[in-house]
Amino acid sequence: MLNLDPSMFKRFGVTFQKGDIIFCEFEPGDNFYLIQSGRVHLLKIIGGIEKTLDILSPGEMFGEMAILEEAPRSATAIALDTVKALVFNKQNFSVLMQGNPQIALTLLRVFTKRIFDAKRRFMILTLDDIEARVADVFLMLTESQVSDSLTEGRIEFPTSVDDIGQWAGISPAKAKEALNHFVAQRRVELYPNKIVVKNINDFTRFVSSRRNQE
């Protein structure tokens, strides 16, 4: 939580009640927000199903792409509790930053993460081999620790086939086909609510060899 001057909230503060929509996916956006209290649910409609992208807590920022341009929102943000947030835009940002450079530092870190995540995602998409892409998605998830390590090399991912397809830039059917092939090779186990990679090191070698071939 950032230790900000209380007068900041008077100038830039906004309150959302529990359940309020802060913004909707595809809506043009020119504001971005820093949460002071309460939680914000980020979600997206993918394939007719609403999926949770993240639940943000105080001190976290969202909608920050608005500082780049009035790009459409890439997700819907809904207040999970009563949310107090500071709302910024291009116009008030430099004024605000003069007195509170730590906010700008937070934004700098957010951009750092966004760039890293986008580049990592891009690396997956540069692989021509579909199975290598799927395997690389698991490597990416392991790096970002969205997984539970069971025993050495065996990792459980609380994710779905559709999600894997989404990250790999392929259809759910193709993702399923690639995963089924891994299942037949006993490299992966599929469950309704999770996917288990039996030896992540094997996937590291597999992806690395495919990258070298391409």
């Binding site: 309020d20 930053m97 700098l108």
Partner: protein, 335 residues
């Protein structure tokens, strides 16, 4: 304490893949940053300008270096630890602004590259996307969210291609909202403009005058939206068995959706076929057929899937989301 370091030509300040702990500023000399373009793999070399920071992104994010920094001529740099750099930033905010500009340019570029590499098939233009978000929420009986999306659509696209439908659907949302309650209240913040002039009933978390069957059904919808498909399926089947003329067909349709989401394609086909048989005038008949078609396709039966897609195109109206989805599915099948 930041320290000045001198390098001889051909020294390497850091290699790609090294752990990142310092941020550098070039005081004098020549430093070249080398990295591979993520799209083409081509090696890119960029000279660092005097008084320019380098190595910031990887150090701030504690990621491995994604560039190699090599010295070409006698050079002096100042190395900052991350806390020292952050301290410097708080005293000289123009440094942050400068870095924000660099980072935002990089982010914009990489997002464009990502968009280019991804299939454009699923891309929606923002106008259509906002409208279909409203439709999604309306269909899932999330009236306050639906109303918000339709209102925002009318704020940004008052003469847009879906404007008249958005007005109608916003009115529908208000009617349903008053009848069944909101689920969640609509934003009262600055973004919640009301261009249609539609007035909202007061938020009522109790669900208003909803019947027990309706409450059960919406509980199922809520479970489904949280991907608790097995639990939602049980709730929907219970609602269907209760035989309520309004909720039984809706529940049967959603039960089929739950099965398809769980990849139980045989189950989904059976449930949705029962829906067609029992409720042939159900408004979601085309959607049910589409789901049966995609289930057949997922099972590898492309002939049946194709036949169903063609049938849907004869009963759905052009411009309806189900029509567009079916066209897309059929095109993908024929590719």
């Amino acid at each position: 304490m930041p320290k000045a370091i001198q390098y001889r030509p051909n020294s390497v300040i850091f290699f790609q893949g090294d752990a990142s702990d310092n941020v550098y500023i070039l005081n004098a000399g020549t430093v070249v940053m080398t990295y591979n373009d993520i799209e083409t793999g081509q090696e890119i070399r960029e000279l660092v300008k005097t008084n320019e920071f380098f190595g910031v992104r990887s150090a701030l994010g504690r990621y491995a270096r994604d560039e190699t920094a090599m010295v070409l001529a006698p050079t002096t740099v100042v190395a900052f630890t991350v806390p020292e750099f952050e301290q410097l930033c708080t005293q000289h905010t123009h440094v942050i602004l400068q870095m924000l500009k660099v980072f935002s340019t990089q982010l914009r570029r990489i997002n464009l590259q990502l968009e280019n590499i991804l299939s454009t098939e699923d891309k929606k233009d923002p106008e259509e996307g906002l409208y279909t978000s409203g439709e999604f929420y309306l269909k899932n009986k999330r009236y306050s969210e639906a109303l918000y999306a339709f209102k925002q659509y009318l704020v940004y696209y008052p003469s847009g291609k879906f404007a008249s439908q958005a007005v109608e659907k916003a009115k529908q949302c208000v009617d349903f909202y008053e009848k069944y309650g909101p689920g969640t209240p609509v934003a009262t913040g600055p973004a919640a403009a009301t261009p249609t002039g539609a007035t909202m009933a007061p938020a009522d978390d109790s669900g208003g005058d909803m019947s027990d069957t309706a409450k059960e059904y919406y509980e199922g919808v809520s479970m489904m939206s949280q991907q608790q498909y097995a639990e939602a399926f049980d709730v929907f089947m219970k609602v269907e068995n209760e035989g309520d003329s309004e909720f039984a067909p809706k529940a049967l349709f959603d039960a089929g959706r739950c099965q398809a989401s769980q990849k139980d394609y045989d189950g989904a086909i059976k449930t949705l076929s029962a829906l067609l048989e029992k409720y042939p005038k159900h408004p979601d008949i085309a959607d049910a057929l589409l789901l049966i078609g995609t289930s057949h396709q997922a099972k590898g039966d492309t002939t049946r899937a194709g036949a169903l897609y063609k049938k849907i195109l004869t009963i759905a109206e052009e411009g309806e989301p189900v029509y567009r989805k079916t066209k897309k599915a059929l095109a993908a099948l024929q590719r």
